[in-house]
Amino acid sequence: MMGSLLSAGIAQADISDGVIKIGYLADMSGTYRDLAGPGGLDALKMAVEDFGGSVNGMPIEVLSADDRNSADVGANTVRGWIDQQNVDMVAGLVASSVSIAVTRILAEQDTLGIVSGSAASSITNEHCTPNHVHWVYDTYPLAHGTAKAIVDEGGDSWFLLTADYAFGHALEGDVEKVVTENGGSIVGKVRHPFPTSDFSSYILQAQGSGAKIVGLANAGADTVNALTTASQFGVVQSGQSLAGLLIFLNDVHALGLEVAQGLQLTTGWYWDLNDETRAWSQRYYERNARMPTMVQAGIYSSTLHYLNAVAATGSDDTATVRAKMGETPVNDMFANNGTIRADGRMVHDMYLVKVKTPAESQGEWDVYDVIRTIPGAEAYRPLADSQCELVKG
């Protein structure tokens, strides 16, 4: 009796203020709502519930806020959380601009963050910090996975439609490099304003270019609009193929298979990969009436990994927990032997998939055929090419 009280007392001392607080920051109402948003918050809560609601007898509390895709709003929210609420870990983090701003605050305040929704590979490259981990995907495997596979199959001339802001430029650069390094060529490109609702003019330019592949270096509503327009203009019927470089499950669902069929894309996870992913997704579906995106699944996985590290070390100290997370492989329904590198990148297998035809699909969410698993080591930027200060030493 005395012994257990004593050990509880020690654990209490190591976990500051006797409670683990997780802050979920994401776009809850705007463009990225469906890929993370309230569904991501629920995935996080599922992880807390599955963990039992407490760590070593300490309760786990979840806070959430809408960042409205504004770096200022996100940074101020997180600063407030750390200063006034003693938040131990910040999860979610979708728009890359918000993530980069927030990770700076996390580094200043020595608090941990797990980025699940952002695309920019710079988050673990030039913007890396010892305080954050990037979990689900980034632009590097998107470009290398999809573009390389398509060039290998003979799609060697490309026309690129690029969203005219940092994310689009980064993705465009990565794709150009992969295409030309593998023997292909970029025959034309157009940078469209973000956001754009009418893509007809750009699609006409792509058709006129004679390129075999029309690559979409944009995301979300822009990609959905571009694909819808391409379908109306008979791009595929006239012999060109489309390559979506960042497409989420909710985008394909919104487009419908009639429009999206045949599209190749790279994803970090899919609900219908195996029995384990299906079982978890079914539970998620029952609570949210939608199948989870890779981001929502990643939020669940990363939260569990974090809680396991807190339980194992009996501490909420950032460096201690981050070190434990790094030395423990990630094995759950999201990743198989995933590893967190020194630069904060969680390296795991990615999947090259092809969107099914309406005839092949068995149900509303049965949309992908997995063509190839891209091993993590091949998918992500090698550490040798990293500009991260933590790696360069």
Binding site: S29, T196, Y202, A254, L255
Partner: protein, 295 residues
Amino acid sequence: MTMILGIPLMVLFGQLMLGLINGAFYALLSLGLAVIFGLLRIINFAHGAQYMLGAFAALLGAQYLGLNYWAALIVVPLVVGALGIVVERFLLRRIQHLDHLYGLLLTFGLALILEGTLVNLFGVSGSSYPIPEALSGGFKLSFMFLPTYRAWVLVAALVVCFGVWFLIERTRLGAYLRAGTENPELVQAFGINVPLMVSLTYGLGVALAAFAGVLAAPLYPVSPTMGSSLLIVVFAVVVIGGMGSILGAILTGLAMGLIEGLTKVFYPEAANTVIFVVMVMVLMLRPAGLFGKEA
């Protein structure tokens, strides 16, 4: 091949055609705003949300009631227009005697409530609405592939624009409307029910937005946020044309579609801003807009 500024002439024709189609669509949306402002002096910030509601009504009608596209083109504007009349009768009329800004704030609030509610119910990704069978496919022109549906949008929008212009500028009913807004007491003295005409006019403006929404449903994913991005452009068109000028809205809509289309070819990065650049220039030279009357 003949080139203009490095662009083949044939390609340019294609882009001008698309610009014209978009322009007709802008004209249709601006027209509703111009009718409402011109006759009622209400700056209808809910116009984008009412356009979105038109597209949503077509989508939900098809999913739950089996409403086909052609029926939706007629039924949806009537239903959404009727909702507009309710809004006018119970909300806008109460603030009629106040400054125009109150109308703007009220309709803006309504738009936010509508959009927020639908985001919570349906998410933001949107859903696709199929192109009706009779309008699928396209024409192979010498300079481009023109989807049949886009050609239909051009024709439908122009016909409706002309019809509304004719109704307001050339018929007796239109004359009553114009007179009723100039001098309500006098027109009322002639035995004409001015409040009813005001309600019907607001309903007509809203129905035009909903009609544009049904036309747009097969073109863009139907999403709760589809109206808010267009609204600002459409307001710019109305301001350039001259607030409240029916003809100004139609002609400016077409012209802005063409200018935007050309910008997409020569300097695509500026395509979203070119209309606002034109707006600033017009406001500096002609503060009442191209077709507006100086106050």
